[in-house]
């Protein structure tokens, strides 16, 4: 074996690559089982629990955490915060990959995934909330693809097409905000149909508002969190503008997240008052609700505020990760933990190990795709031929 080949092999066999490789192999095996033997062989889903973690985590959490795309592009292109421009491409990429793999994950959960385009072709179900979510996600994925497509076009040298798509930036941003407003809230509205199944502390007529407002928080926090990880892993890929804008962006988005969290806390408390559910706070579910309300809404609100006041970037970055965890807990509470709460424990849903495997597999694919793109395309730096073209 030549010395170069030995060095190449060594550089490929990193701990991350080995772990990712094992997860991908396990994921492919479970994928084969799922699509050859059906949902029954790979999941613990039932008539009582038709939606498991492939919807609760892969879809609801995936869509919420992909909100960084519309939040950042709206901040920069609609609210004129050009000083955060370097964050747009990484945020759009995260959003695009998030939505793309939401659709991939959805194929696992659907009994007959090849029928996914049916509602758009046959036009049935236009009064259904799920139809609205499906249409919005399909359209927004297209918008994100177009917004992201300028990066691979710059990489591949398609200058004319790139300039044509670049001219559509403002229109695409407006589309993105409108479509996100619609489907982020509609994902919450899906649960309005199940007032007897969802615990009263989580069920509220304001669920669409909760989902939309918390998606803004998720987007802001995810941009800080993802930026922190990118700075550690791909610092050498960043240009000076990206490095210089990172700290002001962390402070600015931290301040915005703090303010939105304060509003979100208020409307959550109003939700309890409107339903007159104060007495339920003294129960087991009430304790868990208070953990979410105080630990993952009020606490990060204060931590963000303290971080912004003290200009403590470490505190803001920690709070961003904490808030992302809070959003994950919230979506799992609504879709799984507080759902079917009245059923006996024997009938309650707990995911099959294959469901966990697929969810980890999907997250790993997102990370691998992100790494593949960021190491090749102008995401964390401006392409020399297109500098100052924004």
């Amino acid at each position: 074996m030549s010395e170069d080949a030995a060095v190449d092999r060594k550089s490929i066999m990193t701990p991350f690559n080995i772990c990712a490789g094992i997860i991908v192999i396990a994921g492919l095996i479970v994928t084969f089982i799922r699509f050859t033997q059906g949902l029954g062989a790979a999941t613990n889903l039932s008539e009582y629990n038709p939606w498991g973690i492939w919807i609760g985590f892969d879809l609801l959490v995936g869509v919420a955490l992909a909100a960084g795309g519309y939040v950042t592009s709206a901040a920069v292109y609609l609210f004129g915060m050009k000083r955060f421009h370097s964050a747009v491409r990484p945020a759009i990429l995260t959003g695009f990959l998030g939505y793309l793999f939401v659709v991939v994950a959805l194929h696992y959960d659907l009994g007959r995934p090849w029928r996914l385009p049916y509602p758009f072709i046959f036009g049935y179900g236009t009064t259904s909330m799920l139809f609205e979510v499906g249409l919005c996600v399909a359209l927004y994925l297209t918008v994100l693809f177009l917004e992201f497509s300028t990066a691979p076009m710059e990489w591949l040298g398609y200058k004319r097409t790139r300039n044509l798509v670049h001219r559509l930036t403002l229109v695409l941003t407006i589309f993105g905000v409108v479509l996100s407003t619609l489907h982020q809230s509609s994902l919450g509205a899906l649960f309005l149909i199940a007032p007897s199944k969802l615990h009263p502390l989580w069920y509220s007529p304001y669920l669409p508002t909760y989902f939309f407002v918390s998606s803004i928080i998720a987007g802001l926090s995810m941009v800080i969190f993802e930026g922190t990880l990118a700075h550690r892993a791909f610092h050498h890929k960043m240009d000076e503008a990206h490095k210089a804008e990172h700290n002001p962006l962390t402070l600015g988005f931290g301040k915005a997240a703090s303010l939105v969290l304060a509003g979100y806390f208020s409307i959550k408390v109003i939700g309890i008052a409107a339903g007159n559910h104060w007495h339920l706070l003294a129960t087991g579910y009430g304790f868990w609700f208070l953990v979410e309300l105080m630990g993952f809404i009020a606490l990060p609100c204060l931590l963000y505020a303290m971080g912004v006041r003290e200009q403590n970037l470490k505190l803001i970055r920690f709070t961003a990760a904490w808030t992302v965890l809070g959003i994950i807990i919230n979506r799992l509470n609504v879709s799984i933990i507080a759902f079917n709460w009245q059923l006996p424990s024997s009938e309650r849903y707990f995911p099959h190990w294959m469901e966990f495997t697929i969810s980890i597999f999907i997250v790993t694919l997102i990370v691998l795709a992100y790494r593949f793109i960021v190491t090749r395309m102008p995401i964390l730096y401006e392409h020399p031929e297109y500098k100052d073209s924004h």
Binding site: S258, L259, I270, A274, G275, A305
Partner: protein, 47 residues
């Protein structure tokens, strides 16, 4: 026995009253929170 809710009207009167009080407190608190959040921005601008 004044606390018993008999009708939908009773229920809405009770809950909406509390909601409006909380909304008032929240709006006033948001002003205070905004001042707390941005209190040191002016110091930074002066420097």
């Amino acid at each position: 026995m004044n606390n018993i809710i008999y009708t939908l009207h009773d229920f809405l009167l009770h809950t909406e009253s509390i909601v409006f009080i909380i909304m008032g407190i929240s709006l006033l608190s948001m002003v205070g929170f905004w001042l707390f959040l941005t209190a040191r921005d002016e110091d930074k601008n002066i420097q």
